[in-house]
């Protein structure tokens, strides 16, 4: 519920900003080109720091992997952009131990191999007009697909349990910030950080570097 209200607040703010921008009078000097570009397409790589939703009694619940993705944005105004993005992440590994009171041995170790992918949509506000450097702020909602394989290790005295695989899906809001640095009139390098939230805490923080172009 908190996430829905956060997302609603973000969308309302973005719409207010867009509305006030469009309501402004014609400037004395217009910096908008006669034929402005409408699309922003980029490919990105990065580094994802993730924390899983549940942890074992012992062990770690965070991992870091590389990521790759694509984004396609449509400029609604010179400053406001609607964007869709998708990314796949490398396989993260977590090692956990569970305490089993009546078993021999009383601990069971497991290796969790987690692979995630996201697809989302959001609104981004880009500062400055027609310049070489544009900071941006944005947010939206993304869908997370998480595939987790669990390899249970019995320990010295027990056999290994069979591998279990589970796939789950979750929707969650994200916020992002960064900057675009144009290297030509249309081509740019974009660096940013994006955090997405679960019901408990921030679960994914992605640092990304993208190359793209306005079309």
């Amino acid at each position: 519920m908190i996430h829905r209200s956060r997302a609603a607040a973000f969308v309302a703010t973005a719409l207010l900003v867009a509305g006030s921008a469009s309501a402004q009078t014609q400037p004395v000097i217009s910096l908008t080109p006669a034929n402005p570009m409408h699309w922003d397409i980029a490919a990105q790589v990065g580094w994802l720091a993730a924390r899983t939703s549940d942890s074992g009694v012992y062990g770690n619940d965070a991992y870091n992997v590389g990521l790759g993705g694509l984004s396609v944005g449509r400029y609604l105004t010179p400053h406001l952009k609607a964007e869709m993005q998708a990314a796949i992440h490398g396989q993260g590994r977590l090692y956990r131990e569970e305490y089993l009171p009546n078993a021999v041995p009383p601990f069971r170790a497991s290796e969790h191999r987690i692979r995630t992918a996201t697809a989302g949509a959001g609104l981004f506000y880009q500062f400055f007009d027609n310049q070489w450097f544009h900071p941006y702020l944005g947010g939206g909602v993304e869908m997370l697909r998480e595939e987790e394989r669990v390899l249970t290790i019995g320990g010295r005295l027990g056999p290994s349990a069979p591998t279990a695989t589970g796939v789950s899906y979750a929707g969650r809001p994200f916020v992002a910030t960064g900057f675009k640095l144009y290297v030509t009139e249309r081509a740019f390098v974009r660096a940013g950080v994006q955090g997405s939230f679960s019901s408990r805490d921030t679960t994914h923080v992605a640092w990304t570097l993208a190359v793209g172009a306005d079309l």
Binding site: V28, I29, L31, N130, W132, W207
Partner: protein, 124 residues
């Protein structure tokens, strides 16, 4: 009573002197613009608060024609003197401080991610 009258006279005189010193702003910028060489880089502040970097193309009695300095070229535009709050020469040469900082930050971030990716590939 007498002193109040004297103070009032002094205040009135000071106010009228201050008003006499003020020159209408459009006249100031017309004179200034007509003395700047064509092709000079300038920074114009407008009454709406905008700050625009531009190149002077022409200055006549009513307005100045400027070419805004932007990433994607935009048409030259006329700016009436009455809308100008200030004009100053832009002494930036070549790569500006902002652009240099941006390039530095961009290069640093790029190098950081490059090293991170190499490290991750090596660790796997």
């Amino acid at each position: 009573m007498k002193s109040i009258a004297i103070l009032t006279m002094i205040a009135t005189l000071m106010a009228s002197t201050a008003l006499a010193r003020q020159v209408p702003q459009p006249d100031v910028w017309r004179t200034f613009a007509q003395q700047i060489d064509v092709g000079t880089r300038i920074i114009i502040r407008l009454d709406g608060g905008e700050r625009v970097a531009a190149t002077l193309i022409h200055a006549d009695a009513e307005s100045m024609l400027v070419q805004p300095r932007t990433r994607v070229a935009v048409p030259a535009q006329r700016v009436p003197y009455g809308r100008i709050t200030s004009i100053e020469r832009d002494h930036g040469r070549g790569v500006g401080v902002g652009k240099a900082v941006a390039i530095g930050v961009g290069s640093g971030v790029g190098a950081f991610f490059g090293i991170m990716l190499i490290l991750m590939a090596a660790l796997d």
